[in-house]
């Protein structure tokens, strides 16, 4: 299906993100099993989140703050009039109360904006944020395909934030870039893990097309079941092509919800919207209203950390890093913090970036399977800084420094201990290197003679022999200088 150039793509995006709290939205059940323990179904419930009669919800302050913090990061207006929670009524087995406590008429945050870099289009776009509000997650329903479903209420009542954009997204690549940019922000401010694979972040795309030059929106299709940012982009691409194709053939599109099928690479009808949803929202009588004070909002605003975009700008403009290095570093908050600490320990930014994005990241990824993250690595930034200083001061060769780093990752020793244990201190004095060179020249007299009679390519061979004798510990620059001086004598 070729995408027609006669239509403009209109996409709006809805994100649901589980908030990073210890306890649920309206009760004190934990949101996750204790560290290191398996998540056993139906072990984190109580009369409140199981909707037993006579129970009352109490608002989790941290969840409210995380939504406001998100709103501030997205340039939203924070509601300081009374905020109401409302009941969204529908019957479904994953909803113990028969309604979800959500926000409708007055969301906590509204009218924001997010600047999204879109590398694929070599541009950046400004996406309007309609609203960000607070609600609660549903239970987890497993469809067994055996005529029945299975329910786990551990997730029921986990704080959930919904973030809705204006229909400002104009391409599948922009949709993906928006999702990734938003995820980075949520992680930076500690609002959510933002993990699409585990479902702590869920995305839906609303897609429609309209003939270029017209204002009215076309028929909107909602796409669900997107398990990665790549799926989001692929699903949007498929849907744009499908709709353009249908319009070209003069077919009428139906407003519906379609599910993305990853393996088949296409969207399929899940549910046609024959009748409009009828949620019968009304104010939650069990919760007193929330009225965020100006001081509270100001305090949160002051606590907002440096966001990824600002950090990238600081790295490029302030530290003269390349855009690429800045991008790699800021994509992972822990990595960016690690880099900052290495720089703070006195290493030049360019050099610190090379090591942190290079060898350090490579080893980090290699050990990723063991659950190692830059925040959990035994090698503290000061240790890496010491190693880099060693290389730059000629105490350890660059090649050996990589060996040291790998050992540090494997054993958890300090770089200095590894250098001592493996005897990797660089041989850097002209005298001992001179002795090794003399020995090599004595061992290979014919090669020395050939070099002197005009075969410069033998220089590399002789350097190699010196390095071999010193087990790679010789300062390469010094070996070059000293060897050339002796051969030219």
């Amino acid at each position: 299906m070729a995408v027609s150039t006669r239509y403009e793509t209109i996409i709006g995006i809805e994100v649901h993100a589980q908030l990073r709290t210890e306890s649920k939205m309206f009760c004190s059940c934990a949101t996750a099993p204790p560290p290191g323990e398996k998540d056993e179904p139906n072990t984190r419930t109580c009369p409140v989140c199981m909707a037993l009669p006579g129970t009352l919800p109490v608002i989790n302050r941290k969840a409210v703050e995380l939504v406001m913090l998100t709103g501030l990061a997205l340039d939203c207006e924070i509601q300081t009039a009374a905020v109401r929670f409302e009941r969204k009524n529908y019957f479904y087995p994953d909803l113990p109360k028969g309604y979800q406590i959500s926000q409708y008429a007055l969301p906590l945050c509204a009218n924001g904006r997010l600047e999204v870099p879109v590398p694929a289009e070599e541009t950046s776009v400004s996406i309007g944020i309609t609203r960000a509000h607070l609600e609660e997650d549903t239970a987890r329903l497993q469809h067994g395909g055996r005529g029945y479903s299975l329910l786990d209420f551990n997730r029921a009542g986990v704080p959930l934030m919904e973030i809705v954009t204006e229909p400002d997204v104009r391409s599948p690549a922009q949709a993906r870039a928006y999702g990734e940019t938003l995820r980075d922000i949520l992680r930076y401010i500690g609002a959510s893990d933002g993990d699409m694979e585990t479902g702590s972040m869920r995305i839906e795309g609303n897609v429609s097309l309209r003939p270029i030059g017209t204002d009215a929106f076309g028929t909107k299709v909602e796409v669900k079941n997107l398990n990665s940012f790549r799926s989001l982009e692929r699903a949007m691409e498929f849907e744009v092509a499908r709709q353009a194709d249908a319009l070209e053939r003069g077919e009428r599109l139906v407003q519906e919800t379609r599910g993305w099928h990853e393996t088949e690479g296409r969207t399929m009808t899940q549910r046609a919207k024959e009748e409009a949803n009828d949620y019968r929202y009304f104010p939650e009588p069990d919760l007193p209203p929330l009225r965020p004070s100006e001081e509270w909002v100001a305090r949160l605003r002051a606590s907002l950390p440096e966001l990824p975009a600002a950090r990238r700008a600081r790295y490029v403009d302030g530290l003269s890093l390349s855009a690429y290095d800045a991008e790699v570093l800021t994509a992972d908050l822990a990595l960016a913090d690690y880099f900052d600490a290495v720089v703070a320990a006195g290493i030049a930014p360019k050099s610190a970036a090379n090591w942190v994005t290079g060898e350090f990241s490579r080893l980090l990824n290699q050990h990723a399977a063991e659950g190692l993250r830059s925040s959990a690595v035994g090698l503290r930034p000061a240790g890496l800084a010491e190693l880099i200083s060693g290389v730059e001061g000629g105490k350890v060769s660059a090649a050996n420094a990589k060996t040291v780093l790998a050992e540090v990752f494997a054993t958890g020793e300090s770089p200095k201990a590894v250098v001592d244990r493996l005897g990797l201190q660089q041989v850097g004095d002209a005298e001992s290197i001179g002795a090794e060179i003399e020995a090599v020249m004595a061992e290979f007299p014919s090669q020395v003679a050939e070099y002197r009679s005009g075969k410069p390519q033998l220089f590399g061979f002789l350097v190699g022999q010196v390095m071999k004798r010193t087990a790679g510990r010789a300062d390469a620059r010094l070996v070059n200088d000293e060897l050339r001086r002796r051969l030219e004598e």
């Binding site: 709290t21 210890e22 306890s23 004190s28 059940c29 934990a30 949101t31 056993e40 179904p41 139906n42 072990t43 984190r44 419930t45 109580c46 009369p47 199981m50 109490v58 608002i59 989790n60 302050r61 941290k62 969840a63 409210v64 009374a82 109401r84 009524n89 529908y90 019957f91 479904y92 087995p93 497993q142 469809h143 005529g147 029945y148 479903s149 299975l150 329910l151 786990d152 209420f153 899940q270 549910r271 949803n277 009828d278 949620y279 019968r280 009304f282 104010p283 009588p285 919760l287 007193p288 209203p289 929330l290 009225r291």
Partner: protein
């Protein structure tokens, strides 16, 4: 007032399967109930703001501290059918949300 399709709509939202006879009976019944409640419309409320709650409380919140939950046995004690640690329900088609 209330007609057949209103009753059918409300029944669908409540996941109730009503027979034709039940619908026949419910149309006038629900109409009478609405009529009774509708008498409130006669009260002059022009000077009263919309009220969702009468207790003068605001910003009632708790700290984000996790406490022990119920045991799984207690949580599933009333479940009609269980499968392992899970509660078993009939398949419901994704509808209405």
């Amino acid at each position: 007032m209330i007609n057949r399709s209103d009753v059918e709509h409300v029944a669908r939202l409540a996941r109730l399967g009503l027979t034709d006879e039940e619908i026949d009976r419910l149309v006038p019944q629900l109409s009478r109930i609405l009529e009774a409640v509708g008498k409130l419309s006669a009260v002059d409320t022009s000077s009263v703001g919309p009220t969702a709650q009468v207790i003068a409380l605001e910003n009632v919140m708790r700290d984000d501290v996790a406490r022990p939950s119920m045991s799984r046995e207690a949580a599933l004690a009333e479940a009609p059918i269980r499968e392992g640690g899970l509660l078993r329900v009939p398949v419901v088609l994704e509808e209405g949300r």
